[in-house]
Structures are given as C-alpha cells and as structure tokens.
C-alpha cells in the first residue's frame, strides 16, 4: 500500500486496509480534532483582522485560516520523521542491537469513551493512578476537571504491515474515532501532527490548573472538535504553548505525556516550529500552490503568480525576479588593502578595543 501523498483519509466505520488504500488520494487533511487544534493556533497567530481594513486596506483582512494554513502545519509535522522498518524491533531487550527501536515506542491506543474521564484514559495508557499524580506534584482532581480531548473517543497509532526483516520506510496508520465516524490516515512517517494535539490538550489543562490563563476558557464554536487547548482564549493558547518552552510544565507532566510522543524532549523544538511555520507557510508563496499545496514536493505547482497570493499582497512583495535595475555603488574605492602575509604588520595587540573577558573555552 502506498502512503505517498501523505494524507489519505476517509470517514467510515470498520474500514479495512484495502478501504484505506482506496482512499489514498482523498484530500481530507486530518481528523477534526487535529484540524481544529491547529486551526486554533493559526487563528491566534494570524487572525482575520477586519479592523485593519480602514487602516491598511481590504487585503489585510483575511487571516491564516483563509489560506488554510493549518494544512501546512499538519503536513509539515506529519513529514517530520521517517521510521525505518529494519530499525524497529518487537523485543524489549534492546541489548542485542543498540540501534534498534522498540515497536511499542511508536504504537498507542487511547480510549476516552467508556473508561470514565479523559484523564482516566490517559492514566490508563501511562499506567499511572491518581495517587501517582500526587507524587508527581500534580493535582489529579483539578486536572481531571480541566482535561478534555474534545470530540476524540478513540485514538490509535499503529504500524501498517510492519516487517522488521525488510528494509524500507515504515508506514503508519492513524485512526481517530469521533462520534460514529472513524478517520483513517496512512502515512509513511510517524504521525506527529495528531499526537502533538493531544499533548497540547494536556498541557492546556495543567496551564489552567496552575491559573496561568488570563481569560476563562470556554467551548469554542469555531473549533468544535477541539479539546482543552482550543477552549483557551487566543492569547492564552500562545501563553500555554510557551509554558512548554519556559516553565517546568513539560518536566512535571513527563510521565503522563510520555506515551503520547516517542520522545517528549522534542516538544520545545515543536513550539519553535509551531510559531515559525507561520513564516514558512503564510508569508511565503505556499498558499499559491492551491489544490496541490499538500501534495508531495515534486507534485506541487504554483497556481497563482507568487505576488498574487494573499500574504504577498499584504507584504507588497511582487515575488521573485531574475534581476533588478537598481542603483548601486562600491563604498571603498579600489577595494581593501591586503598585503602579502609576510608583510601584514598586524598591531601587537590584536584583541580589539573592547574585549569582554572570555572564559577561554575549554570547559
């Protein structure tokens, strides 16, 4: 089965692998929880701004969601790390092959329906109890009151036909149950995009427990499938992300979050990327790729002139050119003096006029 194209999704119950294969070219970018979570980030960083129309003009009204920027974030995170089949092992004893990675690191099933609260589901997955949370310095009851994964009833990430004896890129299947529908995607990389959204919900719940929010959370009709994270006010969503970088939230949540992402250490990098991808997506020509914007790179085609895409009109950049007829001059007539090495005659003190004391390096 080919996962190339990256984003295969369908909506049906009891889907088989063959069904998934048939839907490989479906353009649904993700399950609704994932989409709404990234939509809520895009909307916090690049909102629609009708108030700028009078000040700057009508082209400054549309926001990142008008350019479907959430698809850019989801595509990038889902194509972020390839896992090779031959590097995965079923065994827990890794001493035989130091380079091998256990299969269990990449597979999980989170069942939120039927087990009680969403926190119960996560505790079950992490093999923890409410009492353990107390030992970790977390207020389990408060967290339970705050945490919701929104519309997600079941979340499963697994390998597709993993054959560790064969070399090749492993394919992953992601299944998310929401209401009576099952969303499937088949990816040839680890499905980080949906995994991060679950992390953001848990971090948002702890953010609220600590009272770090400045506005009260409330269900957000713009992002109906989202969880705790999307219920934060726009600036609180960003403050919440920032607690991953600056603040001990991730360290404190380490054991609770550890089943959700193969290596939680990358989350600070992820916050960098969540912000930075708005530059790589929104303010480049990316949205001009139109219907090909989430194809593999070789299949993307510009469908608009680079200067005609939404954000390019907002920055008044006409797009790349082959050259510019511009005035220029050299600032130093004749260039720099540069004697041969044996005639350099450098001053005795090379250390400049204002050296700050260094530590000399070494340790």
């Amino acid at each position: 089965m080919k996962g190339i194209g990256g984003l295969a999704a369908l909506s049906m119950s009891n889907a088989t692998i063959a069904d998934v294969q048939a839907a490989v070219n479906d353009q649904l970018p993700s399950d609704p929880h994932t989409a709404d979570t990234y939509r809520s980030i895009v909307d916090a960083i690049l909102p629609r701004t009708p108030e700028l129309e009078a000040e700057l003009g009508p082209e400054h009204v549309p926001g990142g969601l008008d350019a479907e920027l959430e698809k850019f974030l989801i595509w990038d995170f889902n194509h972020f790390q390839e896992i090779r089949s031959e590097m995965v092992t079923e065994k827990l004893d890794l001493l035989a092959n130091e380079a091998a990675m256990p299969r269990s690191m990449f597979e999980l099933t989170l069942t939120t329906g039927g087990l009680g609260s969403d926190l119960d589901a996560l505790l079950d997955l992490a093999d923890l109890t409410l009492g353990d949370l107390l030992d970790l310095g977390l207020d389990g009851d408060a967290l339970e009151n705050r945490l919701t994964f929104g519309a997600v009833e079941r979340y499963e990430t697994s390998f597709v036909d993993l054959d560790t004896s064969a070399e090749g890129v492993a394919e992953f299947e992601i299944r998310v149950d929401i209401d009576d529908e099952t969303y499937h995607q088949v990816l040839q990389n680890y499905p980080y995009a949906p995994a991060f959204t679950l992390v953001f919900d848990v971090v948002a719940a702890e953010f609220l427990v600590r009272g770090n929010n400045e506005q009260p959370p409330e269900p957000n009709q713009k992002f109906p499938a989202g969880g705790t994270f999307t219920r934060l006010a726009p600036r609180d969503r960003l403050r919440c992300l920032w607690t991953i970088v600056d603040g001990s939230i991730i360290d404190d949540l380490d054991e609770l979050l550890s089943p959700l992402v193969p290596d939680l250490g990358i989350l600070k990098f992820v916050v960098m990327a969540v912000n930075g991808l708005h530059g790589f997506g929104y303010y480049t020509e990316w949205s001009g790729y139109g219907s090909t914007k989430t194809e593999t790179p070789n299949e993307r085609k510009m469908q608009k002139p680079a200067g005609a895409v939404q954000s390019r009109k907002q920055s008044d950049y006409p797009g790349p050119a082959l050259g510019y007829a511009a005035d220029w001059r050299h600032a130093v007539d004749g260039g720099f003096a540069d004697p041969d090495a044996d005639e350099l005659n450098l001053p005795d003190d090379l250390s400049g006029d204002d050296v700050l004391s260094g530590i000399g390096g070494e340790n």
């Binding site: 916050v271 790589f280 007829a325």
Partner: protein, 584 residues
C-alpha cells in the same frame, strides 16, 4: 574511480575545495561522496524524483539551465525545512528529512547536497579576526599562515567588496551618525563598519545592452543575451541561480557547487593533473580502519546509496571527513572511532540575535532621494557589516518576506511581545514574538524593514555539541543529538552588540526598533571536531592516522564572529596541501 588516493566524505562548502587542491596542485585522484542530491547536473535531471546516474566526472555534465529549472527562486519551494529543495535529507522528496534530536527551542539550518549549506548562504566571506586565531588560546596555527589560503580562496570565489544599494545606504547613515569609522582592511583589528567581502561577482559585469546596470537599465538579465555578473536579486537563500541561462560556473554567487565543483571536475580534462569524481546520494556510514603501530589507521569508508539502499566499501590512502559540524562527529561516533571527550564537542555557533528596524518613507527619501522603500529583496542579501573584534560583529540583511516574517517576528526566546515588557533603559521598542494584528501591521511594512544580524563571538565549550541519540536511529545508525546553550559571557557580548545595532537603526532614523532575542539558530556552526583537541595542526585526527577533517568542524573556535565559509574553505585548502606533504 576504482582506486582513489583520497576519499572526501561530503561535498559541502569545504570538501570540493579540498578535492580541487588535491587533484589540481598535487596530481591526486579524489573521490567525493555526498549524502544528498546534485542540482544542475545532467546525470540527475530530476534529482528529487528519480535516482538518475551514479557518478559524475565530466564538467560538461554541469547544466546551468537545468539548475534554473530546479532552483525556482521561490521561498517555500526552497527553504521549507521539511520539503524544500534546500533541506537536510535524502534527495528523494517523497521521504522525510534526516532526523536530528534537538531538545530545545532552537533551529538547525543546513543543506545536504553538492554545495551543502553554501547553497543558501549570503556568500559573505570575511576573514576571521586575527585576534580570534592568535590571541584566543585555541588555534595551533597562526593567522599569518592562513592568509595565503584566504587570498587563494578569495580569488577562486570572486570575493570582493559587495555593492551598496538602498538598504546599505541607510545602514551607512546610521553607522556613520553613531560615530563608527570605515574599516579599510581585510585583516580586522579595530571597531567599525565596512562593505561585506562577499563571493559574488560585480553587479552587471556586462549587460545585455552594453549599458551599465543601474535604475535606467532596461535590458535582459539572461546570460544568453549577454548579461554577466550579479543581477542584484536578494534570493540567495533560495539558491540564487542567476544570471539565468548561465553555465553553472558562471552563476554570480560562488557557492561551492559554482565556485569549486566545476574547477574540480576540470582537472579530469588535464592529463597532468589528478582526477575528481563526485558521487551524490552516497551517505557514508562507516570509516574502515586497521591497527597500526600503537595507533589505528583509516583505510577506507563504507557508504550507502540512498536510492537503492546498497552499500559499498571503498579504500583509499587517506580519508577526509567533510560532512559538516553535525554529520562528521556523528559518523565518527557511529564508526566507533576513539573519543577522548572532545569528539563532537566545543560546538560554536555565533550566538546570533536579530534587531529589526522599521523606517518611514520620509527617512528613506532623505537618505536616498530617489527612493520611497528600502526594498529588502533588491540588491544582495547582506552587503555591509560591522565589526568589533573581541565581542563579535553584525550584518545588515534584507530578504524575501517569508524569511523576514520568520526571522523578524516568529523566532524568539523571550516569549510573546504582548507579555514581554521592555526595559525603558534599553534602546529597542519591543521584544519577542510578534503575532496577531501587530504581526500583520509589521509585515505590511515589509518593504520599509531591514534587520541587523548579531554574530557573537561564542567560545567552544565541552558541554555544547553533538552526541549519539539513544532513542532514535535511522538507516545510517544512531541519529545525532544536538545541544547548544550560550555561556553567560556570550549573553553579555550579545546584549552589547544588540544595543549597538539598535543605536545604528535609530541613528539612521528608524521609527521602530524590535529585538527578537533569538534562541539558538544553528547556522554558522564551527569547531565540533576542533584543531588543537580532536585534530592536530595538520587537521589530522590525533587518534587515527590518515584521517583528516576538512569542514567547519575543524575550525578551532568561532573565528571571533565573522561568517565561517572563507575560513572553512581556506583551512580545507591548507589541509589538502598538508595531506600531500605528509602522505604523497
């Protein structure tokens, strides 16, 4: 090439320079193995979609028009770290990039391809501050010994003073008003400003109409119509294959695929010289060794073809590692070579910051009476700089808007500007991430905006660097784990340079100054396999005979702050001479 004298691992900025010197001046046969793609070569017409050929030795394989097709000048196409044609990863673009485990708010910016990270550089070629070589305690060789190699490298790469366009005139106004003098030497020992020394040909060296390139010029920018030299497009981060239609070797900006690869392949056409073969899509996974007298000796390398998955071992008399500051130590450690505690360590990265000035039309018109905008996409990306030996330097920079939005407003360690107070004693107006309505406002001023890049002289420390990750592995072994944090001394230097930058903006009349307070941006990486620690004064490994390092990781420190390409290439040229003297 069945029996090379030297195998070079990596065709980035430095590997091709070493290969050219070994073949051209010493008659040696050199095989260069590159893990990434090769753009602008007829043997790989679709380098990201199809395996193409195996190896190239013929300079006639190089095709500038093919390069023009592949380097689209578009930002996302080029620079997206996940799918851009300038990324770190296998050539096959249906696959993800190579994973590096980074547990920080930080960004690693490199390229795997023939040309390496020099494919997206601004081509700035300052020399190291003499102070950093002679008076910091790291280097086993003197500055004076590097100067002839700087001179050779500057000649090979057309390095000269950069042209001043609108944004540079604004910088000069600010630097002059702030009292800084013009520096008129390449060997910088005093504080001041100067044009960049950069590896880009003179603008409009010849034009299609025979008229000079200035605002009156109405001719073509095509090589086929007679245009030669720089076309003043600020697209160097997108690959800069201008002038269009030019043969690869005549592209104006001399990234190493332009400045060194053609002249390296030219040696194959001269019977009196050695031969150079370059094989892309060949990722080296192991260094072969044998026991010597009380030491071990490198005998070859094993590589994996990234399209077929097949592995192959090739033997050589000497091996040069030139995979860059991350891949060279990663290979070393995965190969199980001896580590005395400094392999991969001592990484320096010019503790960057980024100070943004937004200007109004009247200010620009006062400085440049014919202009209303600085238009940061016109002219070279970075054509003027400031130097303060002992502290670091800075560069005036203009780029296209995607890169500007990321660098100016969406990359910070200070948090969101709406929550980040500004000390009233500091010379900037805002700090941190800028989002929402304010981001749109700032970006609506894109054509009136330019930034100053702070390059702090950070010193090598053993805590910073590359180790093997114990969580993830890929087809090449354990992935690299990368860590870099500034020393408090570095913070103090960076703060000082940022204050100078803000002052220069304000002295030029900026109406708003923003300090980004960048987290680590691992772009100018140096010194993770340092001379004086891992390497001796020949750049040969202290613990493995016949194994050399010729990439920026061999640099013994961060050079005081100046951009590292000129120094990395100069040292690689010297190392090639040392290899020939020692072993051939």
């Amino acid at each position: 090439m069945r029996d090379p004298d030297v195998v070079v691992v990596g065709a980035g900025a430095d590997g091709p320079a070493a290969a050219w010197k070994l073949a051209n001046d010493h008659g040696l046969d050199v095989l260069v193995l590159e893990g990434g793609a090769w753009h602008g070569n007829k043997q790989w017409p679709k380098p990201h979609a199809d395996a193409g050929g195996t190896v190239s030795t013929d300079p006639d394989d190089l095709d500038g028009k093919l390069l023009d097709e592949q380097f689209t000048h578009r930002e996302a196409d080029a620079n997206d770290p996940t799918w851009g044609y300038l990324r770190v990863g296998p050539a096959d673009h249906s696959r993800a990039p190579w994973f590096r485990n980074l547990h920080q708010n930080a960004f690693i910016w490199q390229i795997s391809a023939v040309g390496g990270t020099s494919l997206h550089y601004f081509a700035n070629h300052p020399r190291a501050y003499p102070y950093a070589i002679n008076e910091q305690p790291h280097w086993p060789i003197d500055y004076e010994e590097l100067v002839p190699y700087y001179q050779l490298n500057e000649e090979n790469t057309s390095t000269q003073q950069a042209p001043m366009t609108g944004k540079e005139e604004v910088f000069i106004e600010g630097a002059t008003n702030a009292g800084y003098p013009l520096i008129e030497t390449k060997n910088v020992t005093e504080t001041g400003w100067r044009p960049q020394a950069n590896a880009v040909e003179v603008p409009g060296r010849q034009t299609a109409t025979g008229e000079p390139l200035n605002s009156e010029y109405e001719g073509s920018f095509s090589y086929d119509d007679g245009f030669r030299g720089d076309t003043l497009v600020g697209d160097h981060f997108q690959g800069s294959s201008t002038p269009i239609d030019a043969p690869v070797r005549d592209k104006a900006r001399k990234s190493s695929n332009v400045g060194y690869v053609p002249r390296a392949l030219d040696t194959n056409k001269d019977a009196t010289k050695g031969n150079v073969a370059i094989r892309p899509n060949a990722y080296v996974t192991d260094v072969e060794t044998k026991e010597g007298f009380g030491s071990i000796e490198a005998t070859g390398v094993t590589f994996r073809d990234s399209w077929s998955g097949q592995t192959q071992t090739v033997e050589a008399d000497t091996i040069i590692l030139a995979g860059g500051c991350i891949e060279t130590p990663r290979l070393w450690l995965n190969a199980g070579l001896p580590d005395d505690g400094w392999v991969g360590k001592g990484l320096t990265t010019h503790w960057f910051d980024w100070v943004v000035g937004v200007y109004d039309e009247e200010t620009i018109e006062d400085i440049n009476p014919d202009m209303k905008h600085m238009d940061p996409y016109i002219g070279q990306n970075s054509a003027v700089r400031f130097d303060k030996p002992g502290v670091g330097g800075m560069e005036d920079i203009g780029m296209s808007p995607g890169l500007v939005s990321y660098a100016d407003y969406l990359f910070s360690q200070a948090g969101y500007s709406f929550d980040t107070p500004v000390d009233p004693d500091e010379p900037w107006d805002t700090r941190g991430y800028v989002v929402g309505k304010e981001l749109k406002r700032r970006m609506s001023n894109y054509r009136q905006t330019k930034a100053l890049l702070i390059l702090t002289d950070d010193l090598p420390r053993q805590d910073n660097g590359i180790s093997l990750d114990n969580t993830f592995s890929d087809e090449h072994g354990a992935v690299p784990k990368v860590k870099w944090e500034p020393h408090p001394e570095d913070d103090a230097k960076r703060d000082e340079l940022s204050r100078i930058a803000a002052r220069i903006h304000k002295e030029a009349g900026a109406e708003h100054v923003h300090r980004c307070d960048w987290p680590p941006l691992l772009l100018h990486m140096q010194s993770s396999m340092r001379m004086g620690k891992v390497l001796d004064s020949n750049a040969e490994a202290k613990n493995v005979d016949r194994l050399f390092v010729a990439d920026h990781s061999a640099l013994a420190n961060g050079l005081g702050g100046p951009n590292p390409t000129n120094s990395g290439q100069a040292l690689a040229l010297r190392t090639a001479d040392r290899i020939a003297d020692l072993y051939f």
